[in-house]
C-alpha cells in the first residue's frame, strides 16, 4: 500500500473523490441502519457493504430481507438494479484496455456510479493509461473505505439519528444527482418518464417487482424513442 500512497496519480484520484465521499455518507448511514433493521450480524452487515459495494443493491436487499422476500426475488431485483454497471463497464473498457488483465480485474471491482463519472473525465484528459488507472484506483479506494465507515457507523449508531432529520431522503437525492444531469435528450427523458409512470402503475406488485418491470419498460421506451429520433432527424 505504501507504494500506492506515494503515487502522485493515486493521491490525486483519492483527493478528487473526497467530496463524493461526503456526498454518499448519508446514503451509507441509511444502508447501515437498514442492515441492522433486517437483523444482520455485524459481520453480515460488513460483508454486504464490503463485497456487494453498491448502495442501490444494499438498500433493496435489506428492505426485501426485512420483508421476508424469497432469496430468488432479492437476487433478481439487486441484479437488475446493478445492470447499469454493465453500461459503465462498456464505457470504461476502451480506457482500461492497455492495462494488464490483473489491473482490469481489480479496477472492475471498484467501478461505481461516482468512480465512473470521475475517471472518465480523468481518462479523457489524456496522459498514459497507467496514470489513469492509478487515478481510478485512488478514487475507488477512497469511495470503498468511506463507504465501509459510513455503513458501520449507520449499523451501530444510526438509530441515534432523529427521525425528524429525514436522513432516508438522502438516498433518492443521491440517485437524482446521478440521473438528472442526463435529462438532455428526447430518448433519455422518455425512458425516465415512462419508467416513472410504470413504477407507480405497477406499485401493486409484491416484493418491489414493480422496479424491475418499470426499469425494463423504461429501457424499451428509451430505445424506441431513440429509433424515432433517428428516423425524424434531418440529415
Amino acid at each position: 500500500m505504501r507504494g500506492f500512497a506515494d503515487d502522485r496519480e493515486f493521491r490525486a484520484g483519492f483527493k478528487a473523490m473526497l467530496p463524493a465521499c461526503i456526498g454518499i455518507a448519508p446514503f451509507g448511514l441509511v444502508c447501515g441502519v437498514g442492515a441492522a433493521a433486517a437483523g444482520a450480524s455485524t459481520l453480515g452487515a460488513l460483508g454486504l457493504s464490503a463485497i456487494v459495494f453498491s448502495g442501490a443493491a444494499q438498500i433493496l436487499a435489506v428492505q426485501l430481507l426485512a420483508a421476508g422476500a424469497p432469496l430468488a426475488v432479492i437476487v433478481l431485483t439487486c441484479f437488475v438494479a446493478g445492470l447499469r454497471f454493465v453500461i459503465y463497464s462498456a464505457a470504461m473498457a476502451p480506457y482500461l484496455r492497455p492495462l494488464p488483465a490483473r489491473w482490469q480485474q481489480g479496477l472492475a471491482f471498484l467501478l461505481t456510479d461516482q468512480a465512473f463519472a470521475a475517471s472518465v473525465r480523468r481518462f479523457d484528459a489524456g496522459g498514459d493509461p497507467r496514470g489513469g488507472g492509478m487515478y481510478f484506483l485512488g478514487g475507488g479506494f477512497a469511495l470503498w473505505s468511506f463507504w465501509q465507515l459510513a455503513n458501520i457507523a449507520g449499523f451501530f449508531v444510526g438509530n441515534l439519528i432523529p427521525a425528524a432529520w429525514s436522513l432516508d431522503f438522502a438516498v433518492p437525492l443521491c440517485f437524482i444527482a446521478l440521473v438528472a444531469p442526463h435529462f438532455r435528450s428526447f430518448p433519455t427523458i422518455s425512458a425516465a418518464l415512462v419508467s416513472a409512470c410504470a413504477v407507480i402503475a405497477f406499485a401493486g406488485l409484491p416484493m418491489k417487482l414493480n422496479l424491475i418491470v418499470a426499469g425494463l419498460i423504461g429501457i424499451a421506451a428509451g430505445t424506441l424513442a431513440d429509433f424515432v429520433q433517428e428516423r425524424w432527424t434531418p440529415r
Binding site: 479496477l107 467501478l111 437525492l173 406499485a203 423504461g218
Partner: protein, 111 residues
Amino acid sequence: MDTALKLWSVVLIVGALNYLSRLSFIALFARRRVPPLLARAFRYVPAAMLTALVVPMVVAAPGGAWLPALPKIAAALVAGIVAFVTHSQLKTLGSGMLTLWVLQALAPRFG
C-alpha cells in the same frame, strides 16, 4: 431459511453478479462486438433504472395520502433542477435536504 444464511447467500450471489456486471465489457466481452440493438438499449439503462428507484422513495404509497408527500416531491424537484444545472452531488444533496426541512417545518401551519 435462517436469517444469517439468507443474508450471506445474498452477499455472495449479489456480490458475484454485481462483480460480473462490472467486469463484463472490461474483461469478459472485451473482444466481442455488441449487437447494435443491445448497444442502443444499454444507453437508457441508467435513466430508466435510477428513475424507477427514485420515484417510490419520493411519492406517496398507493392509496396513501398525497398531502404529506408534497414536501418530498417539491424537494426532489428542486434537487433535480440543481443537479441538472450544477452537476454537483453535494449541492444536489444540500438543496434537496434543505428544501425538505424547511417545508416540513412549515407544514403544520397549513395542516
